[in-house]
Each structure stands twice: as structure tokens, then as C-alpha cells.
């Protein structure tokens, strides 16, 4: 690989060695020279960003107004707008339409019965693809009913049904706007970067302030979290429409609006549907976190169980989220494919009934269950006596594993802690901050020129000035250790998946499943086996962040030019030489991008692992949330975002450098 990376000069070796020495002996050196400030930024010089932000937030909520309209009026109006459809969805799916207040409420029309909902998703599955999908989605929903998760699941589904159209529709409109206004896009792009890298927790607090505790806050947070990818994908998808098609649209005499809605958007619709699928998955991902600010449903069940350390109940509700996610994910993917392909067979003539058989059947079931539900309550609600629970089974399993394999688990944990995690932590905390910033600036300058150097310098200095350096280093350590482990596991898996078809199928199924799971779910089994602490956090992060490392490596190795492989074969390379000398070096840029994504996912998982007692910026954000301290949460959140931005820019710049060296990309 040295040929791909280029000769490493002695200066670099010297700097690396010096950094290592400083990392190990930094404390001693600082002590001997009596310059403690290089290890610990003096607290007198910390700029109190957090108090100013808190004050600004207070002003915004209490005093800010334009004319007679105060800021709170606006937030209330937004809340009202979101609340209306949400109440409708909740009534339909979960609570039924009620009259009156509190305990005296009388249900006028009950919620849609479980049988009807299952029939509807089966019909939808059949519409989107075939009977197999219909059976899968039906089974998923049946599982929710049988395991007694129905009510919570419907509450969750209701919020998904509200958040997804708003997120996807809004994202589409903003994406189109960005396509039409390139200057706007240039402004939007860094905002989206920030939105995607600031941990969700950080903006839960201000949202809580503005919208109060409740489902609306949760929906707003979910929408903010889930929309950015939709915006990006929309803009990219429209840009990717064949320029000839754009020319055609204009030559046909389309107005601007006709061009957008009749030519561009329909031509890009299969890509746009990928964005919608992303919105759905992110919304489900957000379910548990949103429950912290008032969303009910499955997320609340998991969170409550996790707080009680009730492993069984938590696991059950967690699996219910997964099951729901799988059903919705497969449905939306199949729908995207269906929209992307157009078949000539769907031109059934005849009356409404003949053209809408599936809808008619579902409506019939709805009416029948309403009518008969009065006499047979089981038609309305799945009878509680018939529910199964697996909670005890999980409790027993964990007890059994812990009693019998305690030493093994403990051994693994101690091994990783002593040989990987603690050395990294000690090293990072040992490097004096001025040196670390200098090295970052140097690295930025080498990979991306002056602008990147300035960016690295400014962002890392801001972290120091905010007084968060130590916590940032712990963040980097936890994230770094996880990324190292994820890379060591993920890249070989990816290479294997690319080279061996059968392994490829197994690995991609595994990765698909890992990606469908909401991030919280990883915590539960790991906490059960390893209890709380940094190691648990690392395992959860690795599981969550593994997917891109595998995917990108596989994609990189697969897309190496076939002629190059043949050239290697003809020159007499063994398989191993082919891999080492052609495939891996050529796939390096892709692998780097995969690691970049892994880092991003790892950082976003950090805050969630704060629940298991880490001591990094994620914990800072989590504490801020529990204390409703806006400034503290935002500053720590921004610090995480800065780390993410630095890592992202450095790695993208070096991946680009590699691509330019290989002639895969033009130098501009």
C-alpha cells in the first residue's frame, strides 16, 4: 500500500513520534517546566458561551416579538398545525374518537380494529410487490398484536404517519428550492451539515423550551432530524436528471412550474423515493429519543424499561420497534421500486370496484369489524388474555449467561479496556492542547490546503475556548476506539462480501438488519452482558456504525476496473497479490469514505451511550437535557458537531487526494 500512499517523509515520522512521546509524558513535561496551562486550559479564560445562549433562549421565548406577534405565538401556531393531523391519526389508530374530558370521556367511534389494520398492511404489501411482502408485513403486525405491543405500536405508527409526510414533503420543497437557487444551496449545505452532525439531544432542549413537553415537541424534533437527507437527495436527484430531458422539457414549451413538476420531479422519482425511505428510517430511529420529550408509544416503553433496568420488557419493546421498522422499511422500499418501474399491465378497465379490489376488501373488513365489534370485543382489540410475553425468557437468558459465562465476558471486556481503550484515552488526554491544534492545522494544510487548515484551527480552538477540551478528547477516544474496531471488523467483511458471492449475500443481509435497528436497541443486549461503562458504549457504537465500513469497502473493491484485474492476472498475480496490489489500493478512496461515514455514525451514537455512563460530550448533552439547560446542551452539541466536521473534511480531502492520484477525478 505504500505505493498508493506515497513515500512517508522522515519529517512526518518525527512528528508522529513526537506526538506519541508528548501523549505519554505530556503531564510530566508540563509539570517539570511549570507550564500547566498547556495541559489544562485556564478556566478563567473560558468564554461562557453557554450562559449567553441560555440568556438568548430565555429572551426568545419570553420577550421576542415582531409587532404584536410574539415568538411564542409563532411556535404555538406551528404546534397547533402539527397537532391537528396528529390527533386525527392517534384517534384513528389508537384511542378512538372521544367526547368529553378526562375520565368522563366517552368513546364515540372506536379506533380502527387491529384486524382492519393488519388487512390494510397486507393489501398494501400486495399492492407494492407481491404476496410474499404482504405476508411479511402482515406477520410483523400480527406479532405486535400477539405480543401485546399493539397500543404502543399504533401510537408510534401515528407519529410516523405525521412526521414522514411533513419531513418528506418539506424536504422535497426545500430541495427543489436549493436546486433552483445555487446560491441558496451554498448557504444551505453547511446548515444541513450541522443539522446532521449535531446530536439530536442538543436541540431537544431548545425545542422543549419552545413547544413544551409533549408529542408535538417530539414530532418537531423528529422532523428536524429526518428532513436533511431528503433535502440532499432531492437536490441531487433533480440535478442527476439527464440534461437532454431538461432540454426536451424546455423545447416542448413547458413553463418553469411545468418543467419542475411534470418533467424533473417525475423523472427523478425513483431516487426521490430513496429519500422518503431514509426519512421513514430516521423517524423510527428517533422514536426512543423523542420519547424523552413526551412522545409515547414503543419508544417510551423502551426508555422506561431501560431506566428500571427491566431487561425483558425493554428488549420486548425494542424488538417491537425493529419489527415495525422492518415492515415499514420493506413496504416503502418496495413502493419505491414500484414507482421506479412502470408496467403496461395496470390498465384495468371497469367501475370503481373492479379497479380498487384491495381497497374495497379493506373497507368491507373495517365496516364488518365496526358492526360486529359491539358484540365481539376481540374484533376491536386483540384480547389481552391471548397475548404472549417473552420478557421472562430474556431475563432468564441473561441471568443464565451472566451466571455461567461471567468470566468470559469479563475477560473480553478487560482485554479491550487494557490493550485498546485505556492506552488511547491516556494518550489523547496526555497530548497538550496547543500541540494537538498545531497538528490538526498541519494535517489540514497537507490534505486540503490553507482553507482546511484554517477550518481545523478555528473549530478546535473554539472547543478549547469553550472549556470542553478534556471532554472532547474523551469523545474522540471513545469514538476513535470504536471506529478502529469497526474498521478492523468491517473492511475485511466488506472485501469478503465483494470477492465471494455467497458470503456477500450473508453479509449484506446482516448489515441490512443492523441498519434497520433503531440505535437504542443496540444498548439493551450489550448492557445485559457487559453492564454499564465505556466498553459497553464501545460495543454498541461499533454495532451501530459498522454498516458503512462494510458497504463502502465492498463497493470499492467491486468497482475496481475489470481490465485492471485482468491486467494483473495476465502479469501472473496470485489472488492475494491481486488483492494487496490492485484491489485494495484502488478501493482505498471508497474505503476512506466508508470510514468517514462510520465516524459520523459513531459520533451520533455517542449521546445515546451517555445513558450507560460515559463521561464525554455526549454525557454533557444528556445532563443538559435532564436539567433543561439550553446553553450547556447546545455548546456541547456544537462541540461534537465540530469534531465531526473536522474528521469529515480531513478524510474527504484525503480520499479526494487519492482519487486524483489514481486519475479517477479531475483536479480543479
Amino acid at each position: 500500500m505504500s505505493s498508493a500512499i506515497g513515500k512517508i517523509s522522515p519529517v512526518v515520522w518525527f512528528l508522529v513520534a513526537l506526538t506519541l512521546v508528548l501523549g505519554v509524558y505530556g503531564d510530566d513535561i508540563a509539570g517539570a517546566l511549570n507550564v500547566g496551562w498547556i495541559m489544562e486550559y485556564p478556566s478563567a479564560l473560558v468564554i461562557p458561551f453557554k450562559t449567553s445562549i441560555t440568556a438568548a433562549m430565555k429572551w426568545l421565548v419570553e420577550d421576542a416579538h415582531v409587532g404584536p406577534v410574539s415568538f411564542t405565538d409563532i411556535t404555538r401556531a406551528i404546534a397547533w398545525l402539527i397537532e391537528q393531523p396528529y390527533n386525527l391519526a392517534i384517534s384513528l389508530l389508537a384511542t378512538g374518537f372521544q367526547q368529553g374530558q378526562g375520565s368522563s370521556a366517552v368513546t364515540v367511534v372506536p379506533a380502527i380494529s387491529w384486524i382492519t389494520v393488519i388487512a390494510a398492511v397486507v393489501a398494501l404489501g400486495h399492492y407494492c410487490r407481491d404476496w410474499w411482502l404482504a405476508m411479511l408485513t402482515g406477520a410483523c403486525f400480527l406479532y405486535l398484536a400477539v405480543l401485546g405491543q399493539w397500543d404502543s405500536a399504533m401510537v408510534t405508527l401515528a407519529s410516523v404517519m405525521i412526521a414522514v409526510p411533513i419531513g418528506a414533503g418539506g424536504g422535497l420543497l426545500v430541495g427543489i428550492w436549493a436546486y433552483r437557487h445555487p446560491t441558496g444551496e451554498r448557504f444551505l449545505s453547511p446548515v444541513l451539515d450541522l443539522m446532521q452532525t449535531i446530536p439530536i439531544f442538543a436541540y431537544l432542549v431548545p425545542i422543549l423550551f419552545m413547544f413544551g413537553f409533549g408529542p408535538v415537541s417530539a414530532l418537531v424534533a423528529t422532523i428536524i432530524y429526518a428532513t436533511p437527507p431528503m433535502i440532499r437527495i432531492t437536490t441531487l436527484a433533480i440535478k442527476a436528471v439527464d440534461p437532454e430531458i431538461v432540454d426536451f422539457g424546455r423545447m416542448a414549451g413547458s413553463t418553469k412550474r411545468q418543467l419542475m413538476w411534470r418533467v424533473l420531479v417525475p423523472s427523478a422519482r425513483s431516487s426521490i423515493m430513496v429519500g422518503v425511505n431514509q426519512v421513514i428510517m430516521l423517524t423510527l430511529n428517533m422514536v426512543i429519543i423523542a420519547s424523552m420529550i413526551g412522545a409515547g408509544g414503543l419508544g417510551f416503553d423502551v426508555l422506561a424499561a431501560l431506566r428500571r433496568l427491566d431487561i425483558g420488557a425493554g428488549f420486548e419493546a425494542g424488538i417491537a420497534i425493529v419489527v415495525l421498522a422492518i415492515a415499514v422499511d420493506r413496504l416503502s422500499q418496495a413502493f419505491a421500486v414500484r414507482v421506479g418501474q412502470y408496467s403496461a399491465t395496470e390498465t384495468v378497465q371497469g367501475n370503481w370496484l373492479a379497479r380498487h379490489k384491495r381497497t374495497a376488501v379493506v373497507l368491507a373488513i373495517l365496516l364488518v369489524t365496526y358492526a360486529l365489534g359491539r358484540f365481539l370485543p376481540a374484533l376491536h382489540e386483540y384480547p389481552e388474555a391471548q397475548t404472549l410475553t417473552t420478557g421472562e425468557f430474556w431475563d432468564d437468558l441473561v441471568r443464565y449467561l451472566n451466571v455461567n459465562y461471567f468470566d468470559a465476558f469479563e475477560g473480553i471486556k478487560i482485554f479491550f479496556l487494557t490493550w485498546l481503550m485505556l492506552p488511547i484515552k491516556k494518550f489523547l488526554l496526555g497530548v497538550p492542547w496547543p500541540w494537538a491544534i498545531a497538528m490538526l492545522v498541519l494535517l489540514g494544510w497537507r490534505t486540503g490546503g490553507v482553507r482546511l487548515a484554517i477550518l481545523c484551527g478555528v473549530l478546535s480552538s473554539l472547543i478549547v475556548v469553550a472549556g470542553l477540551w478534556d471532554k472532547a478528547m474523551i469523545t474522540v477516544y471513545l469514538c476513535g476506539a470504536s471506529v478502529i474496531v469497526a474498521t478492523v471488523i468491517g473492511v475485511p467483511l466488506g472485501v469478503m462480501a465483494a470477492l465471494n458471492k455467497r458470503a456477500g449475500h450473508v453479509i449484506s443481509a446482516l448489515i441490512d438488519t443492523l441498519q434497520t435497528l433503531p440505535s437504542f436497541v443496540y444498548l439493551i443486549p450489550v448492557v445485559m452482558l457487559f453492564r454499564v461503562g465505556d466498553f459497553t458504549a464501545m460495543v454498541a457504537i461499533v454495532l451501530y456504525a459498522l454498516a458503512p465500513a462494510v458497504r463502502y469497502a465492498a463497493h470499492g473493491v467491486r468497482s475496481v476496473d475489470g481490465e485492471l484485474i485482468e491486467a494483473g492476472r495476465v502479469s501472473g498475480c496470485t489472488n492475494w497479490q491481486l488483492l494487496r496490489m490492485i484491489r485494495l489500493p484502488m478501493a482505498l478512496p471508497e474505503i476512506l469514505l466508508g470510514i468517514n461515514q462510520t465516524i459520523m455514525l459513531a459520533l451520533s451514537m455517542l449521546v445515546i451511550t451517555a445513558l450507560v455512563g460515559t463521561r464525554d460530550l455526549g454525557q454533557e448533552v444528556y445532563i443538559a437535557l435532564t436539567k433543561a439547560d439550553t446553553g450547556r446542551g447546545l455548546v456541547a452539541g456544537l462541540a461534537i458537531a465540530f469534531i465531526a466536521i473536522i474528521a469529515d473534511r480531513l478524510i474527504s480531502a484525503s480520499a479526494r487526494g487519492a482519487r486524483i492520484r489514481f486519475g479517477l477525478e479531475a483536479k480543479t
Binding site: 432540454d247 426536451f248 423545447m251 416542448a252 414549451g253 413553463t255 411534470r262 417525475p266 412502470y342 403496461a344
Partner: protein
């Protein structure tokens, strides 16, 4: 060639790069060195064309010669940096957006290299798309759509989606769609380049058959000189953004303006380009069987060679204008030039 001019462009420039507009405003007619010095790229340089009503005007050039840019300047898909594009006397470059939309809806049709069919619409829906953006009543649009589908020979495929058709069929859809609004001027941007050679040939024949019926004013872009010669009434040859020569195929072969042009013409069989009138001996003193002066040599070679002695050559009005014999034809078919 007495037909009126339908579309003409005067001193059209398209420069790419920063401040191209101010550059062209200060240098009315910059030379290559000045353009290069300003850091600009001259995609179209000082183009002048007159396209007559009912003719097939081919713009020929290799990739990067600026032919696609030029045709997009003519239809204003790309804004020219300077110059005029006159369509029936109106300067398109100064038309408002709304006027331009009207022009495109009623006067222009365009066929694209990669067909540019909308993937989400059926053949019929694609074909009537230009009518739907004009909000023409649905029944009327469908009727007209079926007419043009019939015209290009795609009956029975109305409800297929583009991806279900072969390349040749897709381009037939593209052609039908560009004709549906009965345009005055028909732009074809390398319409057959993406097709296999056999299909390309078939489509060229089809195109000639259509034109014999419709008599549209056509601007046809190609990088294939043989195709140009086969279809064109007149050809403009472009290189590096400049038009090097505008002439009939025959004139190009007989009198290439530069070495670049003669390089193209060298490999073209003379018999397929030259007409009888270029080879005949002038005078009306012959009375053998008559052939037409406008016929291509390849079309009449067999007849001339199998006849002993000279044949008389007649013009469009049937007047004898000269004679031609075996020797003249043989020198074209077997010699290296055939010009006497």
C-alpha cells in the same frame, strides 16, 4: 434554391468563462489569441447561417466542435453571448421568456441523441406531452397523438413504456413527439448516433420518407459525414467552434475549402455525392435515352455503363443540357477523383 429564409443566425458567439459578456461587449470580434488570453473558451465563434424553408440543413463536426452548442443557441436552450438568431425575421435572442415558450410550443420541435423520453409516461403520453403542457383538450390531443404514432409506424405500442422498446423504436417515439405540435422548424440533434449501424440506415430512410411527406425546415446535427452527405441539401462543417464551409455535398467534394474538409470527403465514394450535371459534357447535341441532371451517379451508373455511346442529360424541365458517357462514369467509380 429560391425558397425564403426560415432561420438565420448572424455573428453568433458563445463564450464560456468568467465575464464572457463584458469581454464580447468590448471586443466586437475577438481573434483566437484574445479569447485564450482572457481565459475563455469559444464554443461557438462568429456563426453565420441562413436556413431556407423546406431544406435539410446539416451541421457536421466532430465532438467538441461546437455543433450541439450552436443548435442549442438557435433554439435558445443555451443563451448565446452575442449575435442574432432570426426566425421569420424575429430575433429570438431578444424574445421574452413567455414569447419563447410560445415559439417552442408552436414553431419548434426537437429530437435528441439519447431520445430524452420521460420514463414515467407511456408512448402515447410521451407523444402528447407537448400538447398537454399547452393544455389542449385531452380527446383532441389523443387523436393527434395517435396520428403521429401511426406516421412513425408505432401502432400497437401506444401503451408501452419507453424502457420496453428498442433503441430504434424509442427514437421513433422521440420523432413522433417532436412532430406532434406541427412545428415549422425541426431540430434533430444527432438523432441516430446512439443506434446500431443497421438500424441507423433504416431510420435514415424513414427520415427521408417522412421529409418527403412533410417538407419541414430541418436542422440536423451529426458527426458522421456519410450521414450528412446522404441526407443533406446543404452541409455546414464546424471545427473548434467555427463554421469552416457551408455548401452542398457535391460542392464540398468538388471544392473543399480547407484540408480539414477534404480529409472528410476523401473517403466518401464520389459516385454517391456527384450528380450527373457535374460530369456531363455541356451542349445539346445528343439524342440518346435521357437521364436527369440532378441524379446521383450511383443511381444511374448501371444504366450509363450498359449503354454504348453517350446519353443525353436533361434538366428539371426536360430540356437537354448535355451528355454523359461510360468513360466519365468509370473514372468516378474506379478512378481516384473523376473530375475532368
Amino acid at each position: 434554391m429560391t425558397s425564403p429564409t426560415k432561420l438565420s443566425c448572424r455573428n453568433v458567439w458563445k463564450l464560456y468563462g468568467a465575464n464572457a459578456q463584458t469581454f464580447i461587449d468590448t471586443h466586437r470580434a475577438p481573434d483566437d489569441a484574445a479569447i485564450k488570453k482572457a481565459g475563455l473558451i469559444g464554443a461557438v465563434r462568429d456563426a453565420n447561417l441562413d436556413i431556407k424553408e423546406g431544406e435539410i440543413f446539416v451541421i457536421m463536426g466532430l465532438s467538441g466542435s461546437g455543433k450541439s452548442t450552436l443548435v442549442r443557441c438557435l433554439s435558445r436552450l443555451i443563451e448565446a453571448t452575442a449575435g442574432e438568431v432570426l426566425f421569420d425575421g424575429t430575433d429570438l435572442l431578444r424574445a421574452s421568456d413567455a414569447q419563447m415558450i410560445e415559439f417552442r410550443r408552436h414553431k419548434m420541435g426537437m429530437v435528441f441523441q439519447h431520445f430524452a423520453l420521460l420514463p414515467h409516461l407511456t408512448v402515447l403520453q410521451n407523444v402528447i406531452f407537448p400538447l398537454t403542457v399547452q393544455a389542449i383538450p385531452r380527446q383532441q390531443a389523443l387523436e393527434r397523438g395517435r396520428e403521429v404514432i401511426e406516421l412513425v409506424g408505432l401502432n400497437g405500442r401506444e401503451n408501452n413504456y419507453p424502457r420496453e422498446l428498442s433503441g430504434g423504436q424509442q427514437q421513433r417515439v422521440g420523432i413522433a413527439r417532436s412532430l406532434v405540435a406541427e412545428p415549422d422548424i425541426w431540430f434533430l440533434d444527432e438523432p441516430f448516433s446512439a443506434l446500431d449501424p443497421l438500424i441507423r440506415r433504416e431510420m435514415q430512410d424513414e427520415f427521408m420518407r417522412l421529409q418527403a411527406r412533410l417538407h419541414k425546415t430541418i436542422v440536423f446535427i451529426t458527426h458522421d459525414f456519410e450521414e450528412a452527405v446522404r441526407l443533406a441539401d446543404r452541409i455546414a462543417i464546424m471545427k473548434d467552434g467555427k463554421i469552416i464551409q457551408i455548401a452542398t455535398p457535391e460542392e464540398l467534394v468538388l471544392a473543399p475549402a480547407t484540408d480539414y474538409v477534404s480529409e472528410f470527403t476523401r473517403h466518401i465514394p464520389r459516385s454517391k455525392v456527384l450528380t450527373v450535371s457535374a460530369l456531363m459534357t455541356k451542349g445539346d447535341d445528343c439524342n440518346g435515352p435521357a437521364i436527369k441532371a440532378t441524379a446521383r451517379i450511383s443511381e444511374v451508373a448501371k444504366q450509363i455503363i450498359s449503354t454504348d455511346g453517350a446519353l443525353s442529360v436533361v434538366d428539371d424541365k426536360g430540356q437537354v443540357v448535355g451528355s454523359i458517357d461510360r468513360a466519365a462514369v468509370a473514372s468516378v467509380l474506379f478512378g481516384d477523383g473523376g473530375m475532368s
